[in-house]
Amino acid sequence: MSTIDDLRNELAKRAEDVPSGHHIQRLSGIRRKRAAHRRRLTGAVAAASALAVAAVVALVPGNAPETDPAPPAAQKPGKAAAELPGAPIPVVEESGVELYETPGLATLNGYAVGEAGQQQVEFSFVAGSSVLSYTSFCTGGPRPNVSLDEALWISITVNGQLLPRGTCSSTAGSPQAPTMSLGRSSYEQQAEAWASVGVRTGERVEAVARLTDADGRASSDPDVAIGAAFWSKSNDQHHVTPSTVVDDLVEFAGVNYNHVTTVSTSVSEGGSLPVWLDQGSETPMLVHWGYVGSGGVFTLQRTGGRATESLQDNTQRGGGASKHLLRSTDSFPLRVIAEHLNSGEVTLWAALYEPVQ
């Protein structure tokens, strides 16, 4: 080393070698660390409380154990974790509500959970992409099984613009995933729709969630807490028909699935689309399937077997889709059948996904 300048140059050059990470992924990692920190704190508090209770019990006369305590029962993995076909999607927890951090192509951007009785929550976040998806939810016992007229609703605005609303449905203990978006299926169309309400990549979004009645009037319930969450979505899609796109990574029941292959065909009444699963293994596969062009009855079923899932559509022209998890894919054929078509031909399509491990 001849000079300190050599050292400065060396450090500068090495620093330039660092690949640039995306700050959205970095924020997601930070949230995970915060959630893990909270879990550790909760665990430590619970453990400390248990120790304190045990110490008090032991100190009370007559409560001293007469025999050695039995060893604790061996812990088993949670039922849900044991049954998941792939790696569980990480979640963050806020006021008892869990939210998926990276479901499919989405990355959690911002969220808020109010307090019971609070009629409105406001929060802001930076849009990680030009397309967002969102959901709203209630905790604290919204009335079940009520008609839509009697139900409570959550209206959401971003930057003062009203979005399609959702009912005040309970979180029911399962993590929240995005359920709503704007625009049609293609990313470009969705980006246009979000731009119309002022959402642009890297810019702050002001969100407000309000509890309302069916007519949109402000409402409140002392037992109900409302919340909302927004995710940004990346543009990794491809067409399965000229007018239909599917995501390359999709969430289903807490697991992400990677796209493997897609098949499609045009059929008339009674026609079908063969979907061969020849993975030759017990790996579960997700089938994302649908139709475009005509209403009718569409059924996913094993060839020669009973129906697995059906979609009915009474419209003259339309489209629909569904996802179905096949626990075993040991080389059996499936098909999508088109029946009772309302008009002409229909395009059937199916995309296969395998779980991310």
């Binding site: 080393m1 060396e10 924020l27 009629q119 976040f125």
Partner: protein, 179 residues
């Protein structure tokens, strides 16, 4: 009707000067480079940075209008504590293997970099702060929580270590230079 409450949970922590997300978007790449020079490992650097930022997030509203020095300090202190706790994979090598003739030219840059990697962690932190971050002795001392005189002596020792490091000496000899 209850008054609306503004929540800044999740990703919306703010302080008077800059909000957390914008800070991460604007400054985290620069901080990642500092973390990399300390850890010498891309994955560990990202982990160190995210850990430091998550710590900063908890007190974001109290940090003030210029959070970067505070976050940098968390990076350095976390780096030191992690090193003691769990980073056992990186160990100094006492005897370096002789480079082959073919390796000599391509190894020029690696020699000094390797020598920096063999510095004790506190010295390495001082070197990075002084010669990459361009902090003064006083600023480095404040960031590390040590006396300016200690920074001065650590800097001198670090440079001395580097000058006598066999890899650097070998490199200088090969180039016909003397430290």
């Amino acid at each position: 009707m209850a008054e609306p409450i503004r929540l800044n949970r999740g990703s919306g922590a703010v302080n008077e000067g800059i909000d957390f997300e914008h800070f991460v978007a604007a400054r985290s790449q620069r901080l990642l480079r500092t973390a990399y020079l300390l850890t010498r490992d891309h994955a560990l650097a990202e982990d160190l940075l995210q850990t430091a930022l998550s710590k900063a997030w908890r007190v974001w509203e109290r940090i003030g209008a210029e959070p970067e020095p505070y976050v940098r300090r968390i990076i350095v202190t976390t780096y030191s504590s992690w090193w003691r706790r769990r980073w056992t994979g990186e160990r100094p090598t006492e005897h370096l293997p002789e480079p082959s003739a073919a390796q000599v030219n391509t190894a020029d840059r690696a020699d000094l970099w390797d020598a920096v990697g063999r510095l004790p962690r506190r010295m390495r932190a001082v070197v990075v702060l002084r010669f990459y971050e361009d902090l003064s002795e006083r600023e480095t001392a404040e960031l590390l929580g040590i006396a300016p005189g200690t920074v001065k002596s650590q800097t001198s020792k670090a440079l001395a270590h580097l000058r006598i490091d066999p890899a650097v000496v070998g490199d200088a000899d090969r180039r016909g230079e003397l430290a």
